[in-house]
Symmetry: C2
Subunit: 432 residues, 2 copies
């Protein structure tokens, strides 16, 4: 594209508008074509993308090595390096993920509702693409493939802005996606990658592209979320942290509570649906607290407790006020004794992030209070918070978990990447 | 509330944050109560509001006189003064409007979708209130009643910011709404009016209240829309102008076309669904142009045409480039000859505002191209654009017509004023 690629720090001499504005215009033009693209054409492109990724497996692992070398040089943590790493198995999983998206029903053109008015007008609400989606993400290279494929399936053009850590991997994956688009005769600009890692590009997307980007999906940590909140002029699918809670009620079955708490915290600690705070009803603290804390400690989890929880085991360390609003994404959990379900609800309302909360109880009335009164995207009764996932919900792949209340909330899959319009069919009606 | 009321121009000494921040906090607290308020309580409040408005009819007309006096003094146009005027009949209509909202089904708690996963998890998407809604509007006093009632029905707290023209009327109506809230034991802060007409309050709502307002609904003209686009940090239901088109296709029935064009333009010229531009297929210009233009001229409509349209009648005046993107809201229409449905689509894509467009044709294939390819909130086939209205759609009252593509599009009624959450019921499931 003739654009100078800037791979490291910010560079005052870079003409960000000159780089970004054409991406936006090209995306808008591509979106017009995609809006009426057939299901077959979109699926053909997706299959060709999966094929191209499989064929390029060795090349992708090679490109990824450049990212890994740089990551080691910069001293990235083992967890981050693991997220960044591509192996032949992970490349195959990426290709399969695209095929699964191809197999989903086309979300565009669905009739969401239809009714006839007394005057004979037939009114249908019909799903349409959103238009152009901007995705701002961090180190996982597979997001390039997932987000590109999901947006295409929903008839949207997408502008992907990945992190600098995965620069070489993302570019190589993007090349495979473009191969697929070309094979199906769809516009190459349907999936574009921002050709610079300069952070000013993020600011430009957030603030200056309201005419060419319909919605931005931010996927990242605290600093990205803060930046989005401060700078966004383009609509955003809010994605806050996942400070997820498990509340063990006085009427909880102890075995079930032990299994759910352990799974919610420890199955995978790095996902946004992992539990970060354990709340235990004082009514069952005597019987339930000890075994649950013991399970966590035995599994290698640090437990930070209030005074009452500290009495359960000498290995429990004191929790500070900050712990109640911390997303650890690690083998750490904060734990507190609360006064029944209303105590749990009050704690979650104060410290939660409106993501995912679970209650363990055998009392349906207590469960309904928890499910009704808490204003979070996902509320579970007698199930692990780790189910907060588009795949687990049966939506196919997802582009993230939205914690905002507008348009999309919870897992953002292909259906959430659509809008709608009203189509009204008449026989000459005029309004009296 | 002890707040100084500023009734005229902007005032640098006014502590806007001191006025607005408490409104926000009170609204958030009220929203928590409303989120679990029963349908009966909400409807009891609505009925008590309608009663209070009826009982206060003479007082409301009296308060309105103060606004009308000021309006005459400021030399407002007759059209604006008409919008502003309250009569006993209009007060009665306002009360009936609230009763109609009470009669609508409760949109909160609806199960929008429900399914069971292979692992036995039962997943339901359940409608919830949005939270706190900000409504920024201009001179019509009835918006105070409509917006307050709609937001309450959907379980939301609302902060109303009316224009200075309707200051006294809106305050008096608001007092009736508060009477209704009190009668039903609901928090008074469920419906608040910004107690100043200082324009800085609008800026504060748009930019500083992201923590306490979940979405802003702007209802107003160009200057408000421009301000919202420039300043909004709070999510907004975009409401652009209604530059609505009627396209008369070569296969249109002449009589139907004449009736639809005349109705779309002239039934009421001041509403956002009124047609502003007429597009006529060159294939039927010879037969259809003359009678349609004649109808409009005879009805007292000014016709601004391109060169071809000007040949139809000497009374047609030349259209300038600006006319194609002008919302007249008056007895004026721009008119142009286009090359078939694709010409119409291209014109609408260039100059339209994504609001409402109609096609008149007997050819279903041509109609489907128009309905599918144009990205507007409402598309009509053989019906007048004046049907772009929540009541006409059967949604009950509406708070406006959204032209954005996120969350709400088209008429914004009680259902569009809700969000949702996922409620997942299990029997001890953990994620493998």
């Amino acid at each position: 594209m003739g654009v100078r690629l800037v791979d490291t720090a910010d560079d005052d001499s870079l003409d960000i508008a000159g780089v970004m504005a054409p991406l936006g215009a090209d995306a808008r033009a591509a979106a017009r074509v995609l809006a009426t693209a057939s299901t077959d054409d979109k699926n053909a492109a997706l299959q060709a993308m999966a094929d191209a990724i499989r064929n390029a497996s060795a090349m992708l692992v090679e490109a990824n090595r450049d990212d890994l070398d740089a990551a080691h040089e910069r001293g990235l943590s083992p967890a981050l390096i693991d997220r960044l790493t591509l192996t032949p198995d992970r490349v195959e999983a990426m290709a399969r993920g695209i095929e699964e998206i191809a197999a989903l029903p086309d979300p565009v053109g669905r009739t969401l509702a239809e009714w006839t008015r007394p005057n004979g007008l037939d009114i249908a609400r019909v799903a349409t693409p959103l238009g152009v989606i901007g995705v701002i993400y961090e180190s996982r290279p597979n997001v390039t493939a997932d987000a590109g494929a999901l947006c295409l399936k929903a008839g949207n053009a997408v502008i992907l802005r990945g992190g600098s850590d995965s620069w070489h991997s993302s570019r190589a994956i993007h090349a495979c996606l473009v191969t697929g688009l070309k094979a199906a005769g769809l516009p190459e600009a349907a999936i574009q990658v921002v050709p610079t890692t300069d952070r000013a590009a993020v600011g430009y997307m957030l603030a200056e592209m309201a005419d060419t980007i319909d919605v931005i999906v931010p996927r990242g940590g605290k600093s990205l979320v803060a930046r989005v909140q401060a700078e966004a002029r383009v609509p955003v699918f809010a994605h806050l942290e996942g400070i997820c809670h498990v509340y063990v009620d006085g009427d909880a079955d102890l075995d079930m509570a032990r299994q759910i708490v352990l799974n919610a915290k420890m199955r995978r600690t790095g996902i946004c649906g992992a539990a970060e705070t354990l709340l235990i009803d004082k009514a069952c603290a005597r019987t339930h607290l000890g075994p649950i804390v013991e399970d966590l400690l035995e599994a290698g989890c640090e437990v930070r407790g209030d005074a009452a929880v500290q009495t359960a085991d000498p290995r429990v360390v004191p929790a500070s006020e900050e712990d109640w609003s911390t997303e650890y994404l690690d083998k750490i959990i904060s734990a507190k004794i609360v006064d029944g379900v209303e105590g749990a609800i009050a704690h979650i309302e104060t410290y939660g992030s409106h993501h995912t909360e679970a209650i363990v109880t055998n009392d349906p009335q207590t469960a309904e209070a928890f499910l009704n009164e808490i204003d979070s995207a996902i509320l579970l009764w007698n199930a692990s918070t780790q189910f907060a996932d588009g795949g687990e919900f049966g939506m196919g792949a997802e582009i993230g978990i939205a914690t905002g209340k507008l348009h999309a909330r919870g897992p953002v899959g292909v259906e959430q990447l659509t809008s709608f319009k009203y189509v009204v069919r008449g026989t000459g009606q005029t309004r009296p």
